[in-house]
Symmetry: C2
Subunit: 253 residues, 2 copies
Amino acid sequence: MLSVVILGTGNLAMHLFRAFSRSSGVRVVQVVGRNPESLYWFSGLVSTTTDFTIIEDADVYLIAVKDDATAEVSHHLHGKKGVVAHTSGTVEMDALIPENRGVFYPLQTFTKGKDIDFEKVPICIEAKEEQSLIILRSLAHTLSQNVHEVHSEQRKKLHLAAVFVNNFTNYLYAVGEEICIKEGLPFDLLKPLILETAEKIQSMSPKEAQTGPARRNDQKSMQDHLKLLDNEKHIALYKLMSEAIKQAYEKKL
Amino acid sequence: MLSVVILGTGNLAMHLFRAFSRSSGVRVVQVVGRNPESLYWFSGLVSTTTDFTIIEDADVYLIAVKDDATAEVSHHLHGKKGVVAHTSGTVEMDALIPENRGVFYPLQTFTKGKDIDFEKVPICIEAKEEQSLIILRSLAHTLSQNVHEVHSEQRKKLHLAAVFVNNFTNYLYAVGEEICIKEGLPFDLLKPLILETAEKIQSMSPKEAQTGPARRNDQKSMQDHLKLLDNEKHIALYKLMSEAIKQAYEKKL
C-alpha cells in the first residue's frame, strides 16, 4: 500500500484525492494547503494542515498547486525520503528541488463537481531516478490502465496539443452556441454533433475524418458562410481555419 | 405507416435507409440513384432504379443528393402527391420545384460504416404547406425524439455553426495528432481529453467551461507555447484563437 501526501487544494487535488480514496492500493495520509477554506473540503476525510513545516512522511508527495508555486512548494519537501512529483503539464521536472523528483501528470480536463473515470485517463510519468519512476508507475497504475513515460520536452508539446484539442475546441463550441442563440435556436441542437465529432476520432484519424466546405474546396459554400457572419473574430477564424484545412489537403494531392 | 422514396445513394441516404428500416412506422418503397454501383448497396433490401422517370408513389420523397443537384432532382418529382423534401443544411427550401416542398435535415455527421443512434439526432423540418409539415414531423418522429421546426435562414446559420463545432473542431484534433506524432507520442493520449471536452458541454455552457492560458490571460504560457510551434498555420491559429478567447472574456469583466 502506497502512502501519499497531496499538496494543494484545487480542482486537480480534489479529483486525485477522490480517485485515490476509491483505490485499494493507496492511502492519502495528509492534504497540505495554504488556504483553510479550500482545505475545509478535505477535513474529516483526511488529516489536513496549512503548515508546510509539519508535512507527514509518505512514499509520494504530489504537488498540485499553481504552476508558478510548484518550485517553491517543493522546497518544503527537501530531505524527505519519498518521491516528490508535480502534476503540471508545463513545469519542467527539474524545477523541483529534491533529488528524488518526478512528474505525475494526468492528461485530462477536470471540472469541479463532475466525476472523472480515472481508469482511462492517460497518466504521464517521469522521474530523475529509476527507483522513483518505479514508485510513480505503481502509483499511476492504481488509478489508470493508461500510464506512459513522457519526458519534460514531450510533456510540454503534449500540453500544447491539449490546448488545441481542449481550450480551442471549447471556444469553437462557444462560437456555435453564440450563433444558435442569435438565431433563437437552442444550443442543444449542436450537442449530438459535438459528441459524435469527438467519438468519431476515437477509432479514426482526424486527418481521414475531415469533411466540410474547406476540405472539398467548395468556394461557394465558404463565401456564403462568410456573408452570414458578423463577428470580426469569427470571420477571421473562419478564413484562417478554411485556409489551413485547404492547405493541409492540397499538399497531399 | 408512411411510405418513403429516397433519392440519392450517398452516406446520408444509406444512414436514412438503415434507420427507416429499423423503424416500424415507415416503409422505404424505393431508392433512386444515378450511380448503379452505389445503388448496389441497397439492392435486395429494397426496390431500386437508376431511372428517374419511374419513381414510385409515396407519402414522402427524400432528396439526399449533392447540394447543387437537389433542385434538378426535384424536377422529376413535379406532380407527385407526396411531400418532396431535401435533406441539406444549406439549400433553401424554395430551390425545390414542387409545391408540396419541404426540408428534412438531420443535424449530424454521418460516417460510412459507423452506426448512428438516430433517436438523439436533431431533425430540422420545414415545409411550405401545413399539411406537408405535419407529415414531415410525423416521419421525423419515427426516427428521433428531437424534432425542430427550423426555417431556411435559421438552418443556414445552424449549418454554419455546425462547420465551427464539427469541421473546424476536427481540424484542431488533426493539429493535436500532428504535434503528438512529431514527438513520437501516440495520439491516443489525447483521446480521453477530446471526449471529456465534448461531454463537458452537454451539461454546461461552453462559455463557462472555457479554461486555458488565453482564458486567464497567462502571457508567459502563451509565449512558451508559440515558441514550441513551427508550423506557420498553427502559429497563426494559436494567436488568433488566444486573441479571440481573451477578448471574449475581457468584454465580460
